[in-house]
Structure formats: structure tokens, C-alpha cells
């Protein structure tokens, strides 16, 4: 691979703590990211099995610009297909979700079942020497599942999902409340007016200074830690602390915790390049994110309860998830506003700089305290290498 498509070339600073702002706003960088990252050897979570609980359920989504179709067949098996008719390539299913046993392309009436087999087609013997139904199933990207979370990669050369997750399977389970036995509660979907990397760099966990609600509730974070690895993934786990004696809210159920064990009650996980999962109080949220251009990112918050929740716990999770997080949520509405400002600011020259927790400006950090922003540095180094951006030569003695 070469960098000829990116002109002038992006030159990455020597300091590990700096990120060039231009990468957030350059159209040519974005096109190259689609090729190297979204079509590259990464794995993308696109759905949780509990979003398709019944036979015949389907969901459509995108990875980068590529449309995908997820189905549950009559034997309860999950499948992922390219959402494109095997004949002339038209988008096969246009709805975001639903339940059906057959997908028919209206153009020439080719019809596929939930396993992707071509089961109907008006071609008659003699219409074509090249045709047989068996030769034209829906084509599929590689797919794998962990704790019910469905991952795909569009790259044949991608490593196994286990190699991609690099030991983070347990952390994924923690965020889901122990394992993948979830029940879907619903979605918040919104558009961020920001580059996808602004989301990648700032969501899931950031300094609580932004959130006035925490200050007004006198709500301090519990003792916890951040972690990150060279594969670009990072996360946060902490004891859940609860606000005491708050007087802000008339209905305190918004910040009530009924989940029992506080020890890992607050955790988040961010997988390179874009997926985030957050468990806070009694909310369990998986955040499916996809770029829609260099300056637009679509964010689908999917919220879940646990399979064994009783009706009262389900009601509590629904009421808490609805109002705490998301594009209208008490502690996250302002995130979207901040991402937008970061994006607009990226049109100025120079670097974004990481400070808190930096011990050596030129080295990859290894340990992080709870509120360190140095934790983001590892995923930027992974990004830089994937994109083939060379570092400036000179390194001071």
C-alpha cells in the first residue's frame, strides 16, 4: 500500500502525545480510512443476537459504506450477508429491521431465504447457459460472535476475532452485566456533526468535568482504573459510587442503582475503530457507530436489560436508560455538542495535545490512572501505523 492518494502526505508528530488536527477534516484521509480501516483487517460489531430474538427477524446496517443484512433463520442460526442482490447487485432490504422469511429484489424478482439461498427466480430453462440457483446465494462477509455480539470483517486477511479482541472478551462480558444474555429495550439513534475519530477518541469515557450533572449531584466517581492495549482498544472499570443526599432531582429513580454488586458497577469498553459499550447504574448500552462522511457520524445506542430481569427491573431500566443517556439524556446530551465543537476546531492548524497522565512525551504509556487522558495515546499509535503515516524524522536527544 502506498500513500499516493493522500496529498500532501500527513506527517505525524514525533511526540506520542500529539495528533494532527487535519486528519479529522481531510476528505482524502477519510477515503483512505474507508479503504485501510473499514475495508481492512478490523472486526466490527454490528448487532447483538438479542436484537433479533425471533426466527425471521432481520436488521440492516452499514460498515463504512457497505450495506449489510443480518438474519435469524428457522433453525435459530444467525447470518450476515452483503445487503445486495446476487443478480444485478441492487440493495436487497431497505428497512432497518423487521421479520420476514424471504427477501425479494423487486427489480427481477430474485428471492432469497433467511439462509441466503436463492429460492425464487423467474428465469426459465434456456434463458441463460450460466444460471443455476445454487450458484447465486447471497454473498457473505466473515462473521463471528462473542457473548451474543455479532462481529464482521470485510477483509479476508483479518486475524481471528479472538486475536482482534486481544483478551478483551471478559471485559465485554462485564459491560453486558456478566454474559451475553440480554433483552433489547430499544434504540436512541442520532447524528453527530463530527468526524468518526472524534467519537472514537472522546466517547465511552472522558473527564467528567463536562458534565454539570455530576457536580450538581455532588456525584464523585468510584475507585477504578483505565486500560488500553496496542490493538487500539481501551476501557474503564470502576466501583460504582452513588450520589448521597442529592436535592437536584424530584424523581431520584433516574440515578438509583438496583443492580446489587457495586464492585464493577461502572464500566466502559471501546474497541478500535468505533464500537463502544457502556454500563452505568442499571443501563447497559451497546453503541453501534458508523461514519457517514468525513464530517458526519451516525450513532445507534442500543439499550438492553438482562434476560432474567423481572417486570419491575425492566421498567426501571427502561425509565433510566430513556432519560440518563443518549441524544436527550441528562448526562450525555452535551457530549454531542462537544464532539461538534471538537470537529469545527479541527479546521485550525496544529495539533491536539494529550496531557494528563503523560510521563514521557515520546514513549507509549503503559499505566494509567483513573482520569488520565494518556490512555488514548495507544489507539492513536495503532491508527497511525494502519494508515501508514510516517513520523517526523527528528527526535530530540
Amino acid at each position: 500500500m502506498t500513500e499516493r492518494s493522500i496529498t500532501p502526505p500527513v506527517v505525524w508528530p514525533t511526540k506520542a502525545t500529539e495528533v494532527p488536527k487535519e486528519i479529522f477534516v481531510r476528505e482524502d484521509v477519510y477515503r483512505e480510512e474507508l479503504r485501510r480501516i473499514f475495508m481492512g483487517p478490523e472486526w466490527f460489531p454490528i448487532a447483538h443476537a438479542s436484537e433479533l430474538p425471533n426466527r425471521g427477524d432481520f436488521k440492516t446496517c452499514f460498515v463504512g459504506e457497505v450495506p449489510l443484512l443480518v438474519t435469524r433463520d428457522d433453525e435459530d442460526e444467525l447470518h450476515v450477508f452483503y445487503n445486495s442482490c446476487a443478480h444485478r447487485g441492487a440493495q436487497l432490504e431497505t428497512r432497518t429491521s423487521g421479520n420476514k422469511r424471504a427477501f425479494q429484489c423487486p427489480y427481477h424478482r430474485w428471492t432469497f431465504d433467511t439462509k441466503g439461498a436463492l429460492i425464487g427466480c423467474p428465469l426459465k430453462p434456456g434463458d441463460s447457459v450460466a444460471f443455476s440457483r445454487e450458484k447465486y446465494p447471497l454473498s457473505q462477509p466473515r462473521m463471528a460472535m462473542v457473548h451474543g455480539l455479532i462481529f464482521v470483517t470485510l477483509c479476508d486477511a483479518a486475524p481471528s476475532l479472538a486475536a482482534f479482541l486481544d483478551g478483551y472478551e471478559d471485559k465485554l462480558a462485564n459491560v453486558m452485566g456478566g454474559d451475553g444474555r440480554l433483552r433489547l429495550l430499544g434504540y436512541h439513534k442520532t447524528t453527530l456533526h463530527a468526524n468518526w475519530k472524534t467519537y472514537h477518541d472522546n466517547d465511552a469515557w472522558h473527564a467528567p468535568l463536562l458534565h454539570t450533572a455530576f457536580r450538581m449531584l455532588d456525584w464523585q466517581g468510584g475507585k477504578g482504573c483505565q486500560f488500553a492495549n496496542a490493538r487500539g482498544h481501551r476501557g474503564f472499570e470502576s466501583v460504582l459510587s452513588l450520589p448521597v443526599g442529592q436535592t437536584l432531582l424530584s424523581d431520584a429513580s433516574l440515578i438509583e442503582y438496583r443492580g446489587g454488586d457495586l464492585s464493577r458497577g461502572s464500566c466502559s469498553l471501546h474497541l478500535f475503530p468505533l464500537f463502544a459499550a457502556v454500563k452505568h447504574l442499571d443501563t447497559i448500552g451497546l453503541r453501534f457507530v458508523n461514519p457517514r462522511g468525513v464530517d458526519r457520524t451516525e450513532l445507534h445506542f442500543a439499550y438492553f436489560g438482562r434476560e432474567d430481569d423481572d417486570a419491575e427491573m425492566t421498567r426501571h431500566r427502561v425509565r433510566q436508560s430513556s432519560n440518563l443517556l443518549g441524544p436527550c439524556g441528562m448526562v450525555s446530551m452535551e457530549d454531542a455538542a462537544m464532539f461538534q465543537r471538537l470537529h469545527i476546531g479541527s479546521r485550525t492548524p496544529g495539533m491536539q495535545v494529550f496531557q494528563k497522565g503523560v510521563k514521557d512525551e515520546y514513549a507509549m504509556p503503559r499505566e494509567f490512572s483513573q482520569n488520565d487522558e494518556a490512555v488514548n495515546i495507544l489507539s492513536w499509535e495503532y491508527y497511525r501505523r494502519v494508515m501508514g503515516f510516517e513520523k517526523e524524522a527528528a527526535c530530540p536527544a
Partner: protein, 162 residues
């Protein structure tokens, strides 16, 4: 609207105008004042609704939560967001008497918004209002307002109720 007097329709429409005027003026106390003492405000998407999913974008299902939303806008989020100006447009579609003094009202709505940072006007949300309006007291009030947004994906974060 058979069975509903013109005077009742006038009072219902006046309540709707009071509601949208409160929001377009960003007067959250006046917004909360359009609801009865025991009332609910729920805003969800047609996607969640059609799939039978209970999650909402805003679930203020008791008086306390309606009052808390006033605090979110006026106190919690103050200074953290780029403001925008809304213009609500509401068209009553149907009105039926649920029981004495209580009316079920369905309306189309659209909310245009103009961002303060870009100056661009576009549509923030369109959908339907399903309301229960209480006319038994001196002033018409919402006992319930259920907002169902047509688009599954909001084009922008939402500060004020819809």
C-alpha cells in the same frame, strides 16, 4: 369532529398553541405548566414503537420527571450546548371524547430548527402527537402527551422537548 363542541375544540387548540409557544420561547416553566398535576410526557420514535420496544427518547412519566426536565434545560445543560431556535407547527387530525371532560387528540407536528452556530434552518423532527387533554378544570391541560417521531435517526441532539 362529531360529539366534540366547537368550544371544546377551541380550548384544545389553545392548549396546543400554549404548548408550542412555550417551547419556541424556551420557557420551560410554561411548558411544564401545560401539564396536569398528574401527567406524563413521552417522546419516542416510530421505529421503537412499531417494534414494540419500550425505550423512549424522553420518558417523563410522572410530574417529578417533567419538573426535572425543566432543570436539565435550565441548570444541568446551561453553557454546554450550541443553542437553536425552534418553530413548532401542529395540525389537529382527530379529536374524540374519551370520557366526560377528557379528550383524545391526534395531531401532526413538525419542528423546524435554526442552529445558532451555522444559521441553517432545517427540520429537527416530524411526527405525531397523541394527547389526552383534560378540560374539566378552568384551564385545559395535558394529562398525557405522547410524541412519536417519524425518523429513526435524530439529525441533531435535542435540548428542548418536542
Amino acid at each position: 369532529m362529531p360529539g366534540v363542541s366547537l368550544d371544546d375544540l377551541r380550548r384544545i387548540d389553545e392548549l396546543q398553541v400554549r404548548y408550542l409557544d412555550a417551547l419556541d420561547r424556551k420557557n420551560m416553566a410554561a411548558w411544564a405548566g401545560t401539564f396536569a398535576e398528574e401527567a406524563q410526557y413521552i417522546c419516542t420514535t416510530a421505529e421503537n414503537e412499531d417494534a414494540g420496544l419500550p425505550l423512549a427518547l424522553m420518558m417523563d412519566d410522572c410530574r417529578g420527571r417533567i419538573e426535572d426536565r425543566v432543570k436539565f434545560v435550565e441548570k444541568v445543560w446551561a453553557g454546554t450546548f450550541q443553542d437553536y431556535q425552534t418553530r413548532h407547527f401542529v395540525q389537529r387530525l382527530a379529536c374524540t371524547a374519551a370520557r366526560a371532560g377528557l379528550y383524545s387528540v391526534r395531531s401532526n407536528f413538525a419542528v423546524a430548527f435554526t442552529r445558532s452556530d451555522t444559521g441553517e434552518s432545517s427540520i429537527l423532527a416530524a411526527g405525531v402527537y397523541d394527547d389526552l387533554v383534560d378540560l374539566s378544570g378552568g384551564q385545559a391541560l395535558f394529562q398525557s402527551k405522547r410524541v412519536v417521531v417519524d425518523s429513526p435517526v435524530l439529525p441533531h441532539y435535542v435540548v428542548y422537548p418536542l
